[in-house]
């Protein structure tokens, strides 16, 4: 799926470094659209998404597994501008949420 169109070199593409963004958001229908739409329209890939409501259900937590590239800082600033995004924390790719989830996705 991620094979480059002109991959004529013999060495495989080096996997990109990953990071996890941990978002605290208002919990209402449409928030996922706001967050995912922001990434897609700024052509920034999201490799994995997890979302669950937290506390009394007024807020949700979203974990986004993303590539750690030069534009991540810009994406974080854009996320902070969304009214429904209350907080953004930058975590390492060794975040438990995705490491443990990977077990479910193994073939």
């Amino acid at each position: 799926m991620s094979t480059p169109a002109h991959d004529t070199e013999s060495h495989p593409a080096r996997p990109a470094r990953r990071a996890v963004l941990e978002l605290t958001v208002s919990n209402h229908p449409g928030v996922m659209s706001h967050v995912c739409g922001l990434f897609s329209r700024r052509t920034f890939n999201v490799e994995g998404i997890l979302c669950m409501s937290i506390g009394d259900g007024a807020q949700s937590r979203i974990w986004l597994l993303v590539n750690e590239d030069a534009r991540l800082d810009q994406m974080t600033k854009q996320l902070m501008k969304l009214e429904d995004v209350l907080d953004v924390q930058h975590r390492g790719a060794d975040h438990d949420a995705f490491l443990r989830l990977e077990e479910f996705f193994r073939a």
């Binding site: 449409g30 902070m80 009214e83």
Partner: protein, 562 residues
């Protein structure tokens, strides 16, 4: 109190200070219109297309700085208004748009005139709401005004299902009207570093963007320019921030700048960007923009800092507040060498405005209109060659007197935006410079202008062609002009008269200046047709994707002027 959702909307708009709303009723917003009919305090302007209602709201907002309000019904009403909302997003204009939606129980069933307005408007609004209960309106409406006018302004859309409009709500007290948030606290250490860079610079340039207009920072920018003798260039959005003719104004930069402006930027060693976003039409190939300059970047939107060009000093804050903090730290400096250099450049590569003394040419008609108006006049444009010619040569001297679609470049903007300006400023003369391609995209609003007797003058540069397309095909596609020239010519004088708008044809006039003077002087809407040649070009021009130093056209300035 017990009121319906629709009544709550209207009362809250009144409490926000809204006195004029542009819109069109339809099945899904009739309860709101019924409540509006009983308001007495709010005047409704019935547009002929929802896109125009959006631009009328923008016109009011651009002139006053306060959120403009527009209404549309569900489905096609909503999709029609979206272009004007996207335009407001890209130019950071505060607009509150309230759309009707099918009843809550019908959402998701492909009901008549149902479209996912919330989903469609996510990428083109600053924020949007789908209201699920009438009680929520008490929070949503003030919140929409707060968001639209806080920080970097922008459009907010509120989608209200019809049953929510009709539902009664019992409540005790009105919420406080939504007001802009306080400005963010900025980093004073960064301001000190910016001042040190300005004090050490030999060849600084101020690069002012639309944020200077939004924040009311024109006076502060001018004081800074004057104290430290810094030449100031403006983006399309910032024209009027420093008055045309001011000794330190070096005019608009970028794709259709005067050549000397781009050359001065090429030579500058410090660029102080204020409320500007390094848009490609301003910078050209961004890697080659101001190649030897350090950069100070001031903007209220932190995501603009370091987005396209890494700043040496980046300050997130209100432009006026930051400039005022910067001012006492900047040392007075007469900078004779740099100012002499800029003067030399402007003598060598001055603005090139052929035909400026003949009102039957593009530059000539713009110059003639300017000579007949004072600085209170409001100037709007559509999008295309006429827009760039006007930007190049209309002597704009005040902020919030220039309305143009910069970011989205929406043809059809000019007439309804000018109408909004005329509604907000009834004593002003509002001129919309337009082209025939652009005018046809919202020409139905001549009916609204006639109905409301708005003091709007359309000056139509008519080449029976999509002039800027024609120009690009001529210059960059081997002269293969295709689908740009119309094969059928519209009689705009007849069309305007059919709408009930007075019309004049400069091509038929024995005394064009007298005709213009008459059209501008009488109250009410009018149209002046100015036939021009489709082969006229906007020069100079930076080819799309090229560096600003690689301008084409207008090389023989001195010869051409002789």
């Amino acid at each position: 109190m017990k009121l319906s959702g629709a009544e709550i909307i209207i009362r809250l708009l009144q409490r926000q200070g809204t006195r004029i709303i542009a819109g069109i009723p339809g099945g899904a917003n009739l309860p709101i219109y019924d409540a509006l009919s009983k308001s007495g305090a709010i005047r409704h302007v019935l547009a002929r297309h929802e896109q125009a209602a959006g631009f009328i709201a923008q016109g009011m907002a651009r002139v006053t700085g306060r959120p403009g309000v527009c209404f549309a019904t569900s489905g096609p009403g909503a999709t029609n208004v979206l272009t004007a909302i996207a335009d407001a997003k890209l130019d950071s204009v505060p607009v509150v748009c309230i759309t009707g939606q099918v009843p809550t129980a019908f959402i998701g069933t492909d009901a008549f005139q149902e479209v996912d307005t919330y989903g469609l408007s996510i990428p083109i609004t600053k924020h949007n709401f789908l209201v699920r209960s009438a009680a929520q309106l008490l929070d949503v409406i003030p919140e929409a005004f707060r968001i639209a006018s806080s920080g970097r302004p922008g459009p907010v859309l509120i989608d209200v299902p019809k049953d929510v409009q009709k539902a009664p709500v019992q409540f005790d007290a009105w919420p406080a009207p939504g007001r802009p948030d306080p400005f963010p606290v900025f980093d004073m250490a960064s301001v000190e570093r910016a001042a040190a860079l300005i004090n050490a610079a030999e060849r600084p340039v101020l690069y002012l963007g639309g944020g200077v207009i939004q924040s009311g920072a024109s006076a502060a920018a001018m004081r800074l320019a004057e104290k430290a003798s810094i030449p100031a260039t403006m983006t399309l959005m910032a024209l009027g921030a420093v008055p045309a003719g001011h000794p330190l104004s070096i005019g608009m930069l970028g794709m259709h700048a005067a050549r000397y402006t781009n050359v001065a930027l090429e030579e500058c060693d410090l660029l102080v960007a204020a409320g500007a976003r390094f848009d490609d039409r301003a910078t050209g190939a961004v890697a080659s923009f101001c190649p030897s300059a350090q950069i100070v970047h001031i903007d209220i939107d932190p995501s603009e800092l370091d987005k396209l060009k890494t700043a040496h000093v980046a300050i997130a804050g209100d432009v006026a507040e930051v400039l005022n903090a910067l001012l006492p730290l900047v040392v007075e400096n007469e900078r004779p060498r740099w100012l002499a250099r800029v003067k030399h450049l402007s003598d060598k590569y001055p603005p090139y405005l052929p035909g400026a003394d003949d009102p039957r040419t593009p530059y000539g008609v713009i110059t003639a209109v300017a000579s007949l108006l004072d600085d209170d006049a409001i100037i709007a444009t559509d999008v295309g060659q006429h827009q760039m010619w006007t930007a190049q040569c209309y002597p704009l001297r005040r902020p919030r007197r220039w309305l143009t679609s910069g970011g989205l470049g929406t043809m059809g903007f000019g007439l309804p935006a000018a109408m909004g300006a005329a509604l907000a400023c009834p004593d002003c003369t509002v001129v919309s410079f337009s082209g025939d391609g652009s005018l046809l995209m919202n020409i139905q609003e001549l009916a609204t202008a006639a109905e409301e007797n708005l003091n709007v003058k359309v000056v139509l540069m008519n080449n029976n062609s999509l002039g800027l397309v024609h120009q690009q095909q001529d210059l960059f596609y081997g002269g293969r002009v295709f689908a740009a020239d119309y094969r059928h010519a519209v009689d705009f004088v007849k069309v305007a008269e059919g709408f009930g708008v007075k019309a004049y044809d400069l091509g038929q006039s024995a005394d064009p200046l007298a005709t213009l003077s008459h059209a501008l002087g009488e109250r009410g809407p009018s149209l002046v047709n100015v036939p021009i040649d489709a082969n006229e070009k906007v020069y100079p021009m930076v080819p799309p994707g090229a560096a600003n130093k690689d301008m084409i056209g207008g090389e023989n300035y001195v010869n051409a002027r002789a």
